[in-house]
């Protein structure tokens, strides 16, 4: 399904990729690049060209907007006295925002949906996050519809893929058609970005080719989840024996699932002080509910068992998230189960609760 309002063009792949690679000498462009046997999101340089035709990356491009670790501010101790140290007044905010015209290219539709979910976490309500907001404003996002499906991907069931359905928040949407990109320009930012690229108006034939490509990719999905019953199904089964069985048999508590999840937003704050006590850095780093200490309070811990922590991960993503943010916290990218050392599978858990049949 394409969107009627967008301007639609055909661009030769080499033209667009060549243009973006030339552009990467002037401005910061992030995109999928090959590193040894993996494709990862990193800065595009002449030595790391764009790899537009890729499958799953370990970390999603939402890491550019919400980094795994970032410094929030630093304090400087100008005096030589250590006793004044703990209540310093000179706070320096590190302006570690993106430059005004950063581009993130090659974002898969489910990862775009993940960024839209983080928008709800960090940009709505009374406590909008300044750093996240600035990065979002300063960045153009070029989405590329998926051409491949991997075993653990179920984005079609979650309504987030394989082709982008909601165009809010991105600037250009690409679909690979042979040697060409079917290109939909969503925003003015996207329009400006393409001004130096040779464009050809898309014909109805191109549109039909895009439709049949979408149908082809949809037909590749093997992993499916029924979302109609979802928030209720897991929330009403918090005492189901499956949590204990899977957690005790297989969960290693390694936190991989939450670290690779593109929507996991939990963090901890940390103070780090230089050895001469002159500089302290307040930073935040992505933390995980799978850590034992995560739910610690004075005198106890509210999720002492692995069973409780596994249940928290699953019931948050596809249960309580809906009440919190009005959407699922899962986009169906399948990273959690791919990177799980024992292949704990969220979809299998849900399907077993629903049908009683273990897979």
């Amino acid at each position: 399904m394409t969107h009627a309002n967008q301007k639609k063009y055909i661009i030769r792949s080499n033209d667009l990729i060549g243009y973006l690679e030339r552009l990467s000498r002037e401005k910061i462009i992030y995109g999928p690049v090959r590193k040894k046997d993996q494709v990862v999101f990193d800065r595009i340089t002449p030595y790391s060209p764009i790899q537009m035709d890729y499958g799953m990356t370990m970390l999603s491009p939402s890491k550019f907007f919400y980094p795994m670790r970032e410094t929030l501010f630093t304090t400087k101790n100008e005096t030589r006295e250590t006793e004044n140290y703990f209540s310093l007044k000179s706070i320096e905010v590190l302006a570690d925002f993106f430059a005004a015209d950063t581009v993130v290219v090659g974002v898969h539709p489910h990862d775009m949906s993940a960024i839209r979910i983080l928008d709800r976490v960090f940009m709505s309500g009374d406590f909008a996050d300044e750093m996240y907001m600035k990065r979002r404003e300063n960045t153009a996002i070029i989405v590329i519809n998926q051409a491949h499906i991997w075993d653990t991907c179920f984005s079609y069931s979650m309504g987030t893929g394989p082709f982008l359905s909601s165009y809010d928040g991105c600037d250009i949407v690409l679909t690979m058609l042979g040697d060409n990109f079917f290109t939909e320009v969503v925003s003015e930012k996207g329009e400006r970005l393409l001004h130096a690229v040779p464009l050809k108006e898309a014909t109805s034939g191109d549109l039909a080719a895009r439709e049949s490509e979408e149908a082809r990719v949809i037909s590749l999905f093997r992993k499916k989840i029924e979302i109609d019953a979802l928030p209720g199904l897991v929330l009403n089964n918090q005492d189901h024996e499956i949590w204990k069985r899977i957690a005790d048999d297989r969960c290693l508590g390694c936190t991989n699932c939450t670290m690779v999840c593109p929507t996991c937003f939990c963090y901890s704050l940390e103070d780090r002080t230089s050895i001469d006590l002159k500089l302290t850095e307040k930073s935040r780093y992505k933390d995980s509910c799978q850590e034992l200490y995560f739910s610690e309070v004075h005198g106890g811990n509210f999720r002492v068992t692995r069973q409780a922590r596994l249940r928290q991960f699953v019931t948050h993503k596809i249960g309580t998230w809906v009440e919190q943010f009005g959407c699922f916290g899962c986009v169906g990218c399948g990273r959690c189960m791919y990177w799980c050392p024992t292949k704990i599978d969220l979809v299998d858990i849900v399907n077993e609760i629903a049908t009683g049949i273990s897979t």
């Binding site: 929030l72 501010f73 304090t75 140290y85 703990f86 209540s87 310093l88 007044k89 706070i91 905010v93 976490v121 960090f122 309500g125 009374d126 406590f127 996050d129 300044e130 750093m131 918090q238 937003f265 939990c266 963090y267 901890s268 704050l269 103070d271 002080t273 006590l277 302290t280 307040k282 935040r284 933390d287 509910c289 995560f294 739910s295 610690e296 309070v297 004075h298 005198g299 509210f302 999720r303 409780a308 249940r311 928290q312 019931t315 948050h316 309580t320 998230w321 009440e323 919190q324």
Partner: protein, 274 residues
């Protein structure tokens, strides 16, 4: 605005409550306004050490001042123990929703506190003392481990001498005949001494989670609707602004949606002792 950047406050006064609890009067050290409601909390912190969420134990005082009653248990509170008048702390806040003060106007009120849980309830008592003459029934039930662990002892005497308030005290262990002790046992042992229409009473409860569980259970058995029971929860918050995720109970962020919850609203989730 970056909400992780702290403001500073100065220590104006320190009062010893028990061997490991002090009450501090802090005054905001800048030109910005500072307004809070009973039941909200601040993140108090120190450069290079970290932050901890602490409830207000007073109503708003003059000159942007406020009180925190703090037990020394960890890194941040261990630093607070060393504070002297004119020392500075980092403050972020106020955060949280606060007690539903609008509900107390015409209802009978039951305040149940356990240990350090008296601190966030003290502003309610102060607020109620204002219009005390027209109030029908007002009970304070306060349980502590021993006599030595009771907070606000001076005020406790004043409350007990006010015939408009019924203040009852229990201790887990201690002398039975002590003049300030009504029962030896957990705080629910005081329930047999109160004469109140449970269906028309609002109760405010704060203490260890297991204590709040049994208080709520007993109140519900006596006929109080679960929605009339308000509890204030403790979680180890890092941000205070519903981002860091540590304080989540089901769909609730304790720092933003709480720390005060209607019992029926929070009881439906796992990961509490309630």
């Amino acid at each position: 605005m970056n909400l992780i950047i702290p403001r500073t406050a100065v220590v104006d006064d320190i009062k010893r409550e028990t061997s490991d609890v002090n009450t501090y009067i802090f005054r905001m050290n800048d030109e910005q306004p500072f307004v809070f409601k009973p039941g909200q909390f601040n993140m108090l912190g120190f450069n290079g050490i970290g932050e901890a969420p602490i409830s207000f134990s007073s109503n708003m005082l003059a000159n942007k001042s406020f009180a925190h009653t703090i037990r020394f248990v960890g890194n941040v509170t261990g630093m607070i123990k060393n504070l002297e008048p004119r020392d500075e702390v980092w403050v972020r806040g106020p955060f949280g929703n606060g007690w539903p003060m609008g509900l107390i106007d015409d209802a009978d009120v039951l305040v149940v506190a356990g240990g350090i849980g008296m601190a966030p309830l003290r502003p309610i008592v102060n607020e109620l003392l204002n219009g005390i003459e027209s109030r029908k029934k007002f009970y304070i039930l306060y349980g502590a481990r021993t006599c030595d662990d009771l907070l606000f002892k001076d005020e406790l005497r004043i409350w007990r001498n006010n015939d408009k308030i019924r203040t009852l005290v229990s201790v887990d262990e201690g002398p039975v005949n002590h003049k300030i002790i009504d029962e030896v046992g957990v705080v629910t042992t005081l329930f047999k001494r109160i004469d109140i229409d449970f269906e028309k009473t609002i109760s405010f409860v704060c203490g260890p989670e297991i204590m709040m569980r049994f208080v709520a259970k007993d109140l519900i058995l006596k006929g109080m609707p679960a929605s009339s029971i308000y509890v204030s929860l403790e979680r180890r918050m890092y941000c205070g602004i519903a981002q860091c995720g540590h304080c989540q109970i089901g769909a609730k962020f304790v720092c933003r949606d709480g720390p005060v919850f209607g019992y029926s609203d929070i009881k439906r989730f796992s990961d509490t002792l309630l």
